[in-house]
């Protein structure tokens, strides 16, 4: 039992060797690794003891779990689910109540320093974390305790990575993304943002971590480069319409029917780092833009506080009224324009008065030297 490998677990779950091999090549491909890596993944899975995963839920809507268990490729889903075995996931596991909480303690003790902590959602800090209670105590405490003993942390989704809607202004509960929780043990954190993240991205990330026992290459913000180094816009299939200058102006116009670019109706594709336009959703079936809706930038930090999803220029907060950069700019430039005109008029009047001799002209008694 102690040396059970990933492969053993999978076989026990009834996954055939053929399916297992397929899964390994699929994952290698999803990760952008050369085909030779498929064998490496396979080898790792057959020989390495499986790494336990604690999957915790804070303030969240469970969309990450929902996405995860609907991984487009049924194979990936089965394999991964058996692979991570989810020693604890209060949404998916059979145990409940005290029994469930006991599993957390057991894992922490048995695998101290060796398990992966996957966090979905985030802890609220205000009122000592009272806005999110798990098993009778604040999630904040549960999270900190698990973090103290884990090997590394996966921040699932925009909640754990950035805060998401529960952290929207004015954020009354002070919902805080995992990496910003004060006093949290200093463990490596990988962020997999999205609301939710794409299932294939989640399974690939976790497969990578479990087989290679390290994180894939991360960008400056801690996201896996292979999925978050390009914007939706960079690989969007509507991009030729963008470059041509063909835009949907209204959702019911000719352009919308023809599949023009959604930039003018607020598409955030140009500012959003995610893999939707390449990996797509529901097993590569489609993604929001393909369905005719602009990207709302769900994997970006702060996307929930940027005003309407349907405006190109975002609202700027702090000006009391609804305003964007152009409205504020035109107002300021207009005011300066009026001031200049007034100044010009005043200068002219003054000049005329001087010429008429009403005022002494001092402009020519220069001082100083060259």
């Amino acid at each position: 039992m102690a040396t059970e490998t990933f492969y053993d677990v999978m076989r026990r779950q009834g996954i055939t060797r053929r399916s297992f091999t397929k899964f390994c090549s699929l994952t290698a491909a999803a990760l952008g690794l050369p085909p030779a890596y498929a064998a490496e993944i396979q080898n790792a899975m057959e020989t390495k003891p499986r790494i336990p995963v604690l999957w915790m839920h804070g303030l969240e809507c469970t969309c990450c779990s929902e996405s995860f268990i609907r991984s487009g490729h049924p194979l990936a889903k089965d394999v991964i689910l058996s692979m991570i075995s989810l020693d604890y996931d209060d949404t998916l596991m059979a145990a409940a109540g005290h029994q469930a909480e006991a599993i957390v303690q057991e894992t922490i003790q048995k695998y101290d320093g060796n398990f992966i902590l996957a966090v979905e959602g985030n802890p609220p800090l205000n009122q000592e974390g009272m806005s999110c209670i798990i098993g009778g105590r604040p999630f904040l405490e549960q999270l900190k305790e698990a973090a103290d003993h884990c090997k590394a942390i996966i921040s699932w989704g925009s909640c754990a990575s950035w805060g998401c809607v529960q952290a929207a202004r004015p954020n009354p509960t002070q919902a805080t993304p995992v990496h910003k929780v004060p006093g949290l043990a200093d463990k490596p954190i990988i962020k997999v943002p999205g609301c939710p993240p794409i299932a294939e991205v989640m399974t690939a990330v976790i497969a990578y971590i479990l087989t290679f026992e390290r994180f894939p290459e991360l960008d400056l913000q801690g996201r896996p480069k292979m999925f978050y180094s390009q914007r939706i816009h960079d690989k969007c299939y509507r991009r030729p319409h963008f470059d041509a200058g063909q835009f949907v102006e209204h959702f019911d116009d000719e352009g919308a029917r023809k599949g023009y670019c959604l930039y003018k109706v607020g598409c955030k594709g140009p500012t959003t780092y995610n893999a939707c336009s390449t990996v797509r959703w529901n097993g590569g079936l489609s993604f929001p833009i393909q369905a005719g809706h602009p990207c709302i930038g769900c994997s970006e930090d702060g996307f929930w506080d940027k005003g309407s999803f349907y405006n190109r220029l975002v609202d700027v907060n702090g000006f009391g009224i609804e305003a964007n950069a152009d409205k504020i700019g035109v107002t300021a430039a207009g005011a300066v324009g009026i001031a200049t005109a007034a100044h010009a008029a005043a200068s002219a009047v003054r000049r005329a008065r001087q010429k008429a001799g009403d005022e002494p002209a001092k402009a020519h008694d220069f001082e100083g030297q060259n």
Binding site: K306, A325, T340, N370
Partner: protein, 236 residues
């Protein structure tokens, strides 16, 4: 004051070579680039009406963005050049780039000029180059805003380019500064445009006004380089 070439007008007033050829060339190249950047930048934020037909037949938005990026790069190179020139150029080439902010006399000059522009009193001082208030406003509203536009502009450019040196040097750090959000960078780059519009409005007004009031060929000095000196006050 380093060697400033001085010549005499027919009336015996000394002429000073204020703006050297590279500065003049830079001024007009930069002004042209910025004007195009205004137009194309505004259109990037609020695109023109949609075109019909096959996408392969058009490249309108592509051209708008291409002009923006080219002018942006010209402006960026220009700013670097202008900074370099403030070290090798004449006395006046330093004024707006590295103003004497530590000199009390400079700030006194700023105060006096402010009063004069407020039409409260006449400035009794004359400067061959820019007056201290002009220096201050050009330094803040032009130099810093220009640097800001170049840095944020290159950061946005790097996003489209993908991994590479522009991405490493500009995009990554700028995104971190702006709360990890590219949209916020867009918004501030957009605000920067309006700051620059305000500078240009005031700048052109001040140049034309001075040209009329001082009875000196201020505007032509940015074309020929020469300006009448008479008795002048050094800025610091």
């Amino acid at each position: 004051m380093a060697s400033t070439p001085v010549d005499d007008t027919p009336q015996g007033e000394p002429l000073v070579y204020v703006y050297e050829a590279p500065v003049r060339l830079w001024h007009w190249v930069n002004a042209t680039a910025i004007t195009l950047l205004f137009v194309t930048g505004y259109l990037i934020g609020s695109p023109p009406p949609s075109l019909n037909g096959e996408p392969s037949a058009h490249y309108l938005f592509g051209w708008i963005r291409f002009i923006h990026f080219s002018c942006g790069q010209i402006m960026a190179v220009g700013i670097i050049f202008r900074f370099y020139w403030s070290f090798v150029g004449n006395y006046f080439s330093r004024e707006i780039i590295r103003p004497p902010v530590l000199s009390r006399k400079f700030w006194k000059g700023v105060m006096l000029e402010t009063k004069s522009y407020a039409l409260a009193e006449h400035s009794s001082r004359r400067y061959v180059g820019h007056n201290p208030l002009a220096i201050l406003s050009m330094h803040v509203l032009f130099v810093w805003v220009a640097v800001f536009m170049v840095v944020t502009g290159l950061a946005l450019y790097g996003e489209g380019e993908g991994p590479g040196w522009i991405h490493t040097v500009f995009t990554g750090p700028v995104l971190l500064l702006f709360g990890n959000n590219s949209l916020t960078v867009h918004t501030w780059h957009h605000f920067g445009m309006w700051a620059m519009v305000i500078f240009v409005l005031v700048h052109i007004y001040a140049a034309v006004r001075e040209d009329i009031l001082s009875r000196e060929a201020i505007i032509t000095s940015m074309i020929s380089g020469w300006r009448k000196a008479r008795k002048v006050t050094p800025i610091d």
